[in-house]
Amino acid sequence: MSERITRFFASRWGILLTGAVIGILAPLLQRAGNPANMGICVACFERDIAGALGLHRAPLVQYIRPEIIGFVLGATVAALLFREFRARAGSAPIIRFLLGVFAMIGALAFLGCPWRALLRLAGGDLNAILGLAGLATGVFIGVQFLKSGYSLGRAYKTGPLVGWIMPALMLGLLLLRLLAPKFSQEGPIFFSEKGPGSLHAPLLISLIVGLVIGFLAQRTRFCTMGAIRDLILMADTHLISGVVALLMVAFITNLVLGQVHFGFFGQPVSHSQHLWNFLGMALAGLAFALAGGCPGRQLFLSGEGDGDAGLFVLGMITGAAFAHNFALAGTPDNVADKIVGGIGPYGMGAVLLGLAFCLIVGFTMRERS
């Protein structure tokens, strides 16, 4: 029985179902209170978590997002039920951490992870086209490295504790969300009073949606970066069919909910500085390709015992802290004064530094025999 379910989830129908479920639930989360075109955004939500913990002090983007907690724990439940939970680690962890840092810096230059790029497009935000083009370009470069023998080396089976760290951290975050302690008068835990961080669906809804998506995505290996990579590398359309399902279903759901507004300038939590939308996501795409998964996939892997993926996630959270502390992240377009937003000189420098780091990793990392 369990084998038959596994085969279903590994089939075309399984991946289409997962894409479609995310495509319905994300716009509904927006309707339930999440920010516009941000029903789900792994990068933004990890950034909000970094803010809630006080790792950065940008007052508009601080909240412990239950979706992220749900993604990891949903994947843990699925992996345990299907006996796939396996503690493993040791594949160039420090490189993966830094790939996570730079992936986040790239994603926050664009203002979104690949999932949000799709959701932004499904809401009519045409800047997402530049972001997705950048993502595909970054993944394309990553594929060239893979073809020429790039590898971060093998992970090895290890003690169960390694696999349980990320699920345990998520339980800790859930506790902090529930108890909302104030550790000092001016200190965390912070929850934004205005801005995107203040906009959120009710806790239980966010958590349940997260758990459902985490479960499905663990079973089907849903991955936006993998979708583009497999298409370029071996003309395999399996994963990309799930991504297309997500985009189409999210677009239809947004139409039904009246959440589609086409345009470039002044789109919700987005900027129309085209070059840096493209380059930011190119950096993110390359970092995801080198690390073997998009931010969502890294969360699901970390839930099934992959300690290296967990370190990538922690790298992303650290990257978010740098992005806001060092003013690297993109600023949304200012509609009132008609000023195009985007990233400043430090952000541009950080994106270029990230690209340089990824290229060095791509050229130098080979499996040692």
């Binding site: 596994t6 590994a10 299907f82 493993r88 073809k147 992970a155 290996r221 497999d230 590398l233």
Partner: protein, 69 residues
């Protein structure tokens, strides 16, 4: 003696890349060792698409996948 590909511990998509390289060399049967269900399913899908016969044996959380024409 069949050709062996040891893809244990490697992350996606390296197991599939190594398997495809072995398939392209044209020597069958090929034995592929992997240690995650993800890699097992990816290799199964790739091999079935190429019309190969796939046999899988599980031992202690690892999988030996035998591909033949």
């Amino acid at each position: 003696m069949s050709k062996q590909v040891d893809a244990r511990g490697l992350s996606c998509p390296q197991p599939v890349i190594l398997t495809r390289q072995a398939i392209n060399e044209g020597e069958f049967p090929i034995e592929v060792l992997v240690d995650t269900v993800t890699s097992r399913e990816n290799i199964r899908r790739t091999a079935e698409k190429l019309g190969l016969k796939v046999e899988i044996v599980e031992t202690g959380g690892e999988f030996k996948i035998t591909l033949s024409k």
